[in-house]
C-alpha cells in the first residue's frame, strides 16, 4: 500500500465514511508522530472488538504509532487475540495460517524488495505467544537463522486467551489455568535466549508500562530490520480475562510483573548500533540543512 491508494478520488469525499475521511485528512501519514501527540490526530487503529482494558490492545495501539512508515508497512498475524485489533487498522494485514507467519513474512519481504526496488516496505509479524513460540516455532527460528529482514513482535500474554485458557510454551511454571487445571509442569520458554543464539540483530523485552518506550522500541526494531537483519520484540501483554485481573488493576499488574521478571531489556548488535547512529546523524544533518535555508 502507499499513500496514493489511501487518498480519496476527487468528488467522492462526501460519500466516504467519516472515519475514512478523518484518517486521510488528519492521519499520521507522511510525518513523524510522537506518543505525546496521541489524541490530537486520527490513529490508524479503528474501533475493535478486543476486551475492555486489555493490555495487548494498549501495546498494539502504541506499537502502531511507533511504526516509522505506516503507509508502507504490512503486518502479519495469526489466530489469536492480537489479530482482532490488527485487522481493524488501516495497515494491510495478512492473516497467516497457524504456524507459518514467519515463513509468509520471509517470502513477502523478498517479493516486496523485487516488486518495489525504490521503496522500502516494512514487514512486521505481530502474533501471540502461542502462534510464535509453540505452533509457529520452526518458522520463527528458521527465519532468524536465515537472517530474514523483518520484525517479529511477540504479544506474550502467557496463555491461549482466545480459546479459553490453555497453557502455552510461554506460560510460567506451576500456573493453574482454566484449561490447565493441574498447573504447568515446565518452565517458560526462553525465547530471548533462542533469539540470541540465532544471532537476531535487535532483541527487546518490555512491559506496556511506558508508551513512549514501546513506540521507540518498535521504531528501532523496524528500522534495524530494514538494513541489518531480523529483529525480535517480546512484550508482556497480560490477559485480564484468563488471569482474572480486574481492569482497573491491569496497569498495576504490568508494573508488578515488570519489576519482578519482565524488566526492560535490549540486546543490540554492533552493526545495528552503528546503523542507528548513522540514521540519527543523517536526520540531524538534514534538520540542520533545513534550519540553515
Amino acid at each position: 500500500m502507499s499513500l496514493e491508494t489511501l487518498r480519496i478520488a476527487p468528488g467522492f469525499e462526501s460519500y466516504m465514511p467519516k472515519e475514512y475521511v478523518d484518517l486521510v485528512e488528519r492521519g499520521p501519514y507522511g510525518r513523524d508522530v510522537k506518543v505525546s501527540e496521541l489524541g490530537t490526530f486520527k490513529e490508524v487503529l479503528e474501533e475493535h472488538p478486543m476486551c475492555a482494558g486489555c493490555a495487548m490492545t494498549l501495546f498494539i495501539r502504541v506499537a502502531l504509532i511507533g511504526l516509522p512508515c505506516p503507509e508502507h508497512t504490512v503486518i502479519l498475524g495469526t489466530a489469536g487475540c492480537g489479530r482482532l485489533a490488527l485487522s481493524q487498522a488501516s495497515i494491510p494485514f495478512i492473516y497467516g495460517n497457524y504456524g507459518d507467519t514467519n515463513g509468509v513474512a520471509s517470502g513477502l519481504k523478498r517479493g516486496l524488495e523485487i516488486r518495489f526496488p525504490n521503496q522500502t516496505k516494512d514487514v512486521v509479524v505481530m502474533a501471540g505467544d502461542g502462534g510464535l513460540s509453540d505452533i509457529g516455532f520452526s518458522c520463527v527460528m528458521h527465519s532468524w537463522f536465515r537472517k530474514e529482514k523483518f520484525t517479529t513482535v511477540m504479544l506474550d500474554n502467557e496463555v491461549y486467551g482466545n480459546t479459553g485458557g490453555q497453557e502455552s510454551g510461554m506460560t510460567n511454571k506451576g500456573m493453574v489455568l482454566k484449561m490447565a487445571p493441574f498447573g504447568k509442569k515446565f518452565e517458560k520458554m526462553d525465547m530471548i535466549g533462542l533469539a540470541k543464539t540465532a544471532g537476531v540483530a535487535y532483541i527487546a523485552r518490555l512491559a506496556p508500562t511506558n508508551p513512549t518506550r514501546i513506540a521507540n522500541v518498535i521504531r528501532k526494531a523496524v528500522l534495524i530490520a530494514r538494513e541489518v537483519g531480523p529483529t525480535y520484540v517480546q512484550a508482556y501483554t497480560s490477559c485480564n480475562i484468563e488471569y482474572a485481573i480486574p481492569t482497573p488493576k491491569v496497569m498495576d499488574d504490568a508494573r508488578a510483573v515488570e519489576k519482578d521478571r519482565y524488566g526492560f531489556m535490549e540486546i543490540i548488535s554492533d552493526e545495528a548500533k552503528a546503523y542507528l547512529e548513522r540514521i540519527e546523524q543523517e536526520k540531524k544533518s538534514k534538520a540542520k540543512a533545513v534550519a540553515g535555508t
Partner: protein, 87 residues
C-alpha cells in the same frame, strides 16, 4: 447500563500531562483538545475499563477522571456522530 469515563475539564485544563491519552487501550477514545488544553472522552467508544482513572489518580495524581453511568453523561462527545476532533 454501563459506566464510561468522564474528564473534569477544569482540573484537566490546569495541567498538561496527557497521560490518559497514552494509556487508553482504545484508539481515539480519549482525545486531546489543543485549544481548550484538555482531554475529552468519546463516550460511544469507551468500554469502561477504568485504566485512565488509575493513571490519573496514581500516576498523574490529578484525580480528574471519574466513571459515570452512560445515562448521566452531560453533553457527551460521540465520535460516530460528529467525526474526529470537532471541538
Amino acid at each position: 447500563m454501563y459506566a464510561v469515563a468522564q474528564i473534569d475539564v477544569d482540573i484537566c485544563s490546569a495541567t498538561s500531562c496527557r497521560l490518559c491519552t497514552q494509556f487508553c487501550p482504545e484508539s481515539n477514545t480519549i482525545n486531546y483538545d489543543v485549544k481548550r488544553n484538555t482531554a475529552y472522552v468519546a463516550v460511544d467508544r469507551c468500554k469502561g475499563c477504568e485504566i485512565c482513572v488509575g493513571i490519573c489518580d496514581t500516576l498523574a495524581k490529578h484525580h480528574a477522571i471519574k466513571m459515570v453511568p452512560i445515562t448521566e453523561v452531560v453533553e457527551g462527545f460521540e465520535m460516530s456522530k460528529l467525526g474526529f476532533h470537532k471541538f
